[in-house]
């Protein structure tokens, strides 16, 4: 049983880390494609490319930070995971607030429903890591 929960914790941490790296790298390399596909409405403007690339670098940072901290032992990774999880929770809330505004598309509704699950997994994983540390 303990092994299964360990595996689940690893899966959540590695999934979040890799997800952050892949999403970050995509936003960095292809901001216009991401804008078109997800319907952000930034239309190849200077601020649009800058903001998407900046969000990308931060996702990449959290992904790399989480994976690096994880490689050094679980307790160090819990802080990274909790903060990334909280950021995703606010993203979900933001999608809920904006989903009826002009320019919003199906992706935003999907994100509004999907992100809370990822965020809850991240926060629960982080809490389990801290509990493990306290033992």
């Amino acid at each position: 049983m303990a092994d299964k929960s360990e595996q689940l914790l690893d899966l959540i941490t590695n999934g979040l880390g890799l997800g952050g790296v892949v999403l970050g790298a995509t936003a960095l390399a292809l901001p216009d494609t991401l804008d078109r596909r997800l319907g952000f409405g930034l239309r190849q403007t200077a601020w649009g490319s800058f903001s998407l690339r900046s969000v990308g670098t931060r996702n990449l940072l959290f992904g790399v930070g989480l994976l690096t901290a994880r490689a050094k032992g679980r307790p160090t990774a819990s802080g990274w995971q909790a903060l990334f999880g909280l950021a995703l929770a606010v993203d979900a809330l933001s999608c809920v607030v904006e989903r009826n505004k002009p320019g919003a598309n199906g992706w935003m509704s999907l994100t509004a429903w999907g992100l809370p699950v990822v965020s809850a997994a991240a926060l629960a994983g982080s809490a389990a890591m801290r509990k493990e540390k306290a033992k």
């Binding site: 403007t45 601020w47 649009g48 903001s51 903060l83 002009p102």
Partner: protein
């Protein structure tokens, strides 16, 4: 850089990130207009989501820096990755320069601020190693 200065730099960077991130989260329309988004684009739901996403990640980064300002190895990782993140922001500013609707002051100002923050964080990370 001595230990006390490293802690001061880390705390200052954390507080700046918290301030910037909070304004992005609370005032996405104003921030969008300030950075050169057109009135129509700055009212789009998607633009607000991106601006808020940037803000929440800055807040998370700020909290991470503040929480680890006194720790050695963990704090160094936050500072090193933050300085790489600032390098990414500088590159994003340079790549944004030839695009339409740019606000030259905010692009150049953002690039300069990111350079200064990145160098400060890199030096502080080096100070933590000693």
């Amino acid at each position: 850089m001595d230990k006390k200065r490293v802690e001061t730099v880390t705390t200052s960077l954390g507080l700046v990130l918290l301030g910037a991130g909070s304004s992005f989260v609370l005032l996405p329309r104003l921030v969008g207009r300030g950075f050169g988004l057109t009135t129509e684009a700055s009212q789009q739901g998607g633009a607000h989501v991106v601006i808020r996403a940037l803000g929440t990640r800055d807040i998370a980064l700020g909290l991470g820096l503040l929480a680890n300002r006194k720790s050695g190895g963990a704090g160094r990782l936050w500072l090193q990755l933050f300085s790489l993140c600032m390098a990414g922001d500088v590159a994003a500013c340079v790549l944004a320069l030839p695009r339409p609707n740019r606000n030259l002051l905010s692009v150049v100002g953002g690039g300069l601020a990111s350079t200064v923050f990145g160098l400060l964080a890199w030096n502080a990370a080096g100070g933590k190693k000693r």
